[in-house]
Amino acid sequence: MISLAGRDILHSWGKFVFTGFGLGLLIGVTLTMAGLYRGMVDDGMALLDNSGADLWVVQRDTLGPYAEPSGLPGDLWRDIRSVPGVAEAANVTYLTMQVGQGERDIRAMVAGVTAGDPGIPGWPPRLVAGRQITRGHYEAVADMSTGFALGDTLRIRRNHYTVVGLTRRMVSSNGDPMVFIPLRDAQEAQFLKDNDAILMQRRRAEADPSLNRPGIPGLLEAVLGTQTNNENVNAVLVRVHPGFAIQDVAENIRRWQRLTVYDRAQMESILIGKLIATAAKQIGMFLVILAFVSAAIVAFIIYTLTMDKIREIAVLKLLGARNRAIAAMILQQSLLLGLLGFVVGKIAATFAAPFFPRFILLIPADSLRGLLAVGVICALASLVAIRIALKVDPAEAIG
């Protein structure tokens, strides 16, 4: 046998390579989109991994702390630590906000972690440079993707922090880099009111006859005290003793503390099923559109390549070539075009991935699926041209 498709491609390789590159860029975009979704899932997993928690205790009936706001009293962790099976319980706050440095500011997820030793839940498990936070105030550990360096000063609301440590791949489920600061500072950042607001609130309290009772000395001061300090946290991260079943401990906390508790699997389903669900659908839509566009391009180019050969096809049929040989020529051309496009796309996606702001995770299984999809799309796209070729009347070859 002889490969007509291969010979034709070698002969008119310019057109073929040109189309292959165009198709390749399209496939590259497709692979990148798939990688974007994988990256989002991986970001979520990294967030859960890095928190070091077995259980997430949050405000009742909320999907906190990542998907919904959740508030818990700051001293609840003591009660939780006394539940049998709990090895460690640590307060944590998460707030996505702008973090400034000089003129510029970047979007980051600021995590407040309790003072104490490194290694308790919520702390960054590994540093690539510098050290962990040792002082109770104004120190920060930032992810490298923030662009901050050791010793930099960064600004969160009105306070300034010195970067003492750097992490890698510590990101929120939105892909924003994380910045760790002491819990107290984080609480302040989250709940801190400006001076005017404090004054206004103070005046309102003073003007309220039910609070400002001259007959009860000290009442107003007590009320004002509760208004300005804020001890709330977003969640308590729990690590369970190795000897205990995680589900039992979770059930205990739920029952006795009347709180909502999520384990790792539930947290994953919240992140993937709820937090990034819309983005995933969006990406899915784009993949469908890209598939159609690719199919249209392949169909069009294979159609034109076939129409250019219609005379030769009539001659081949007249001389006795089988339909199978003619269909195989067109199908193979389509598949080879797809293969070229896939190789170009794969290379383009691999080289482009690091330049995207979000994490692009290209996994071999997706590439394989992509290759199969390209094969199916190219086979379908060649059907139009094959139909036309098979309908050509061999009598046309004779004057």
Partner: protein, 237 residues
């Protein structure tokens, strides 16, 4: 009497129905002996191509009988199921333009059909090179069609028509694009090949230059054939 390579008996072909019907062939008759090259001439629209299409098994006659090598191939219907195999094995085609496959070199153009139908590539190419040698274009065996002159292309096309050693060759104005010297050369080659392989050849032509070379000639006018005996015609070449 020698057996016929081609025999056409009262073949008619009608296009269209009722009052719009056109009879492109009316009881056409024609015979070609093996090893013989016969001319078929007639004005434009007289039915020459229609006759070749019927003989070439790419068009159904409306009536009549056709034989190849004394084998009845058509009478009220085709006598075999696989017309493509009939064309491949029994009939060689040569066209006005060579219609070579532009992305195959000369050898592969000649060897293509055997290669596509199960003959080993090496074997098919060997046969192709022998034919190219016989047609005196073996020095261009690896050239692409675009690199060949018109005459060389036509000789490659003739080699292609001979690759399966068919008993019949149908040529539709094979010399049209060639100057008279090359046109005469093509007819000479056809005569040589016809004799060497015992092939019955029909050459449809308008070409005044080559008409005198046919020993026997058929005129066709409005679908009706007339045989013209060779009044002192010189054998081709």
């Amino acid at each position: 009497m020698k057996a016929d390579g081609i025999r056409v008996e009262n073949v008619s072909k009608r296009f269209g129905e009722g009052s719009a019907a056109i009879w492109a062939l009316k009881d056409a008759n024609l015979r070609v002996a093996p090893g013989e090259v016969v001319g078929l001439i007639g004005p434009s629209g007289s039915g020459k191509s229609t006759l070749l299409k019927c003989l070439g098994a790419v068009m159904d006659p409306t009536a009549g009988r056709m034989f190849l090598h004394e084998e009845l191939i058509y009478e009220g219907g085709w006598k075999m199921g696989d017309l493509r195999a009939l064309r491949r094995d029994k009939i060689g085609f040569i066209f006005q333009s060579p219609y070579l496959i532009p992305f195959l070199n000369a050898t592969d153009n000649v060897a293509l059909i055997p290669m596509l139908t199960g003959v080993r590539n090496a074997e098919a190419r060997h046969r192709a090179r022998e034919l190219l040698e016989a047609l005196d274009v073996h020095h261009r065996a690896t050239a692409m069609p675009a690199q060949l002159s018109g005459g060389e292309q036509q000789r490659v096309a003739i080699a292609r028509s001979l690759i399966n050693r068919p008993p019949v060759i149908l040529a539709d104005e094979p010399t049209a694009p060639l100057d008279s010297e090359r046109a005469l050369a093509v007819i000479r080659i056809l005569n040589t090949m016809a004799q060497r392989f015992d092939t019955a050849v029909i050459v449809v032509t308008h070409d005044e230059k080559i008409i005198p070379t046919f020993r026997r000639l058929y005129h066709i006018r409005d679908g009706v054939t007339h045989e013209e005996a060779g009044e002192g015609r010189s054998p081709g070449g």
